[in-house]
Amino acid sequence: MFDGIMLGLSTVLDWNNLLYVIVGCFVGTFIGMLPGLGPITAIALMIPITYSIGADSGMILMAGVYYGAIFGGSTSSILINAPGVAGTVASSFDGYPLAKQGHAGKALAIAAYSSFIGGTIGAILLMVAAPLLAKVSLSFQSPDYVVLMFLGLTAIAAFSNKGQFLKAMMMTVFGLMLATVGIDPSSGTERFTLGQADLLDGISFLLVAMATFALAEALINVVRPEKKETKSINDSDTPQIGSTKLTKEEIKDIAPVIGRSSILGFIVGVLPGAGATIASFMAYATERNLAPKGLKEKFGKGSLRGLAAPESANNAACTGSFVPLLTLGIPGSGTTAIMLGALIAYGIQPGPMLMQENPSVFWAVIVSMYFGNIVLLILNLPLIPYFAKVLAMPKSILTIMILFFSLIGVYLVSFNTFDLFMMVGFAVVALVLRLLAFPMAPLLLGFILGDMIERNFRRSMMISDGSLSFLWERPLTLSIFVISILVLLFPLKDFISQRRADKAVLKAKQEHA
């Protein structure tokens, strides 16, 4: 492990890579601060640039963008109650009231310190957990991968918003179907190409990612502008930033909260499908339950604990989500799914062999996390008042710029205008689906995992002589398969309780009438 850390350090300390960490954090913070734009969009917009700078630097840049976007989301949550990222929604519960009380600087400082500690604890845990899991996963065989990917797909659907399970499953299947377009790599048969030569190579992952996230997010903000009551940074009653200093008592109060939430966040982040949003809400709820009676009532009204908990948890979860990506080659979230797609585009197959075949990528990503957290703390914190000006940028300019960068980003990779037309088509479909409240991340995950599932499924079936017995022959495969089924059945509980509640409401209404 020591050799690995040294290798990672030597890669990251290269001037170019150090610059990419800083640029990544800045760009991520900038995009993450804009309401409606999250880390997936930020990373998707970066992909065309990363193609020209190599795998190590590209992954370092994207990792920097990821933490930056989460940090940027916290700033807009606290200052104007408009979270740019779902993972920072919980931060606005206490961050915005704190800002309204004139403690915006303090709230931002707590967010920065909590994010830094959460991210650093996460990076240490990742450094220990990833190589261990990578070693274990060397014994994984094709059947294990099939069920693991099945678990990833069911988990992201099961953990999607309440009542969205079936919608998420439809999106997953849609993603899997899109992955089957093109020439089948095993037999050479053409599938679903509709006679178009441009579809023989399949649909580009960059195109799908850009259309469903960057383009669709920009367009949804035009067709359905944010109705939520948010204040512009230029408004006269916008909270002043004020002092960023914390007292000793305050530090003493939030320190254990940050420690607990960081570990909880990391564990939740490792689980496929969970991610920063669930981690931040879980940490918030846990700390509210653990708080003494007097402090419990302050939650939602400007509690320092209520802000520190989700902030440390979401950053630790971001780091945790790299564990399945780097060790198993299975992304647990939409963001890491995009990174997986980028790695594959570089010609690198993430998974157990990554640590041996491309140790510089593996360790550089891990070590860059430390540097990313330091950059966020020492550079972004003093620059917050200036970053906050971003929130005043005219929407008309911003939306068109996103559309332009998305289109030209895809064009610069393929130099084929057919891709641009297809991208607009996908953006229309994604827009309609988003208006109908369909989640996008399962589609991307299904699309990226589709090819791997098919290859491993074929291999498993060949090994087991055409029988599905590979699902229960090995204890490991069987265990993961059983967990997947349980995860699949998990939303049934919610459905039944929701039906009971709906019936009770209806009955009460009828009786009242």
């Binding site: 179907m177 048969t189 599938r191 679903f192 035009v222 008309s396 208006l435 098919e454 079936m461 459905f495």
Partner: protein, 155 residues
């Protein structure tokens, strides 16, 4: 009229059914005839699974005792028109990029895009389109050495 909650699953049901029809028509190569897994196996599984999920979703929606109206989802006509305008603009930009080149098409795309978004200040319309395009072109072609199409009509 079709309930909003039913619209999504119904559209997917139609799509998955079409996919299933094409999946069952995937030609098998001679050596695939006796294989358990062919190029059509997983597409058929996906289609069947997708159709089942759609039917479950439609069933669950029909069984819902109350249908709540989500007022947040009502779209304003002006917003829909603006979005449609942007989509048309993207299609025109995609079609014009190679014939008239990056510099002219991108400047026009940005300028018209800002206008569609409601920007009417001439200074912003011009400064945020032409200089941005030229700087981007310079960075790509002169600094990073990436080729940007100069226009088939002029070359």
């Amino acid at each position: 009229m079709l309930n909003r909650e039913l619209l999504g699953p119904s559209l997917f049901l139609a799509l998955f059914t079409l996919y299933a029809i094409v999946a069952w028509q995937i030609p098998l190569l001679p050596f695939e005839e006796f294989e358990t897994v062919t190029s059509a196996t997983l597409p058929k599984v996906y289609a069947a699974f997708g159709i089942i999920v759609c039917l479950l979703s439609i069933g669950a929606t029909l069984l819902k005792p109350t249908a709540a109206v989500d007022e947040d989802n009502v779209l304003e006509k002006s917003h829909v028109l603006r979005t449609t305008g942007l989509l048309i603009l993207m299609v025109i930009y995609s079609a014009a990029l190679e014939p008239i080149g990056f510099l002219i098409s991108t400047s026009a795309f940005l300028l018209v895009g800002f206008f569609v978004m409601g920007e009417r200040r001439k200074a912003i319309l011009l400064l945020a389109s032409i200089p941005v395009t030229v700087v981007f072109w310079f960075l790509m072609t002169q600094v990073l050495g990436i080729y940007l199409v100069s226009g088939d009509l002029w070359s």
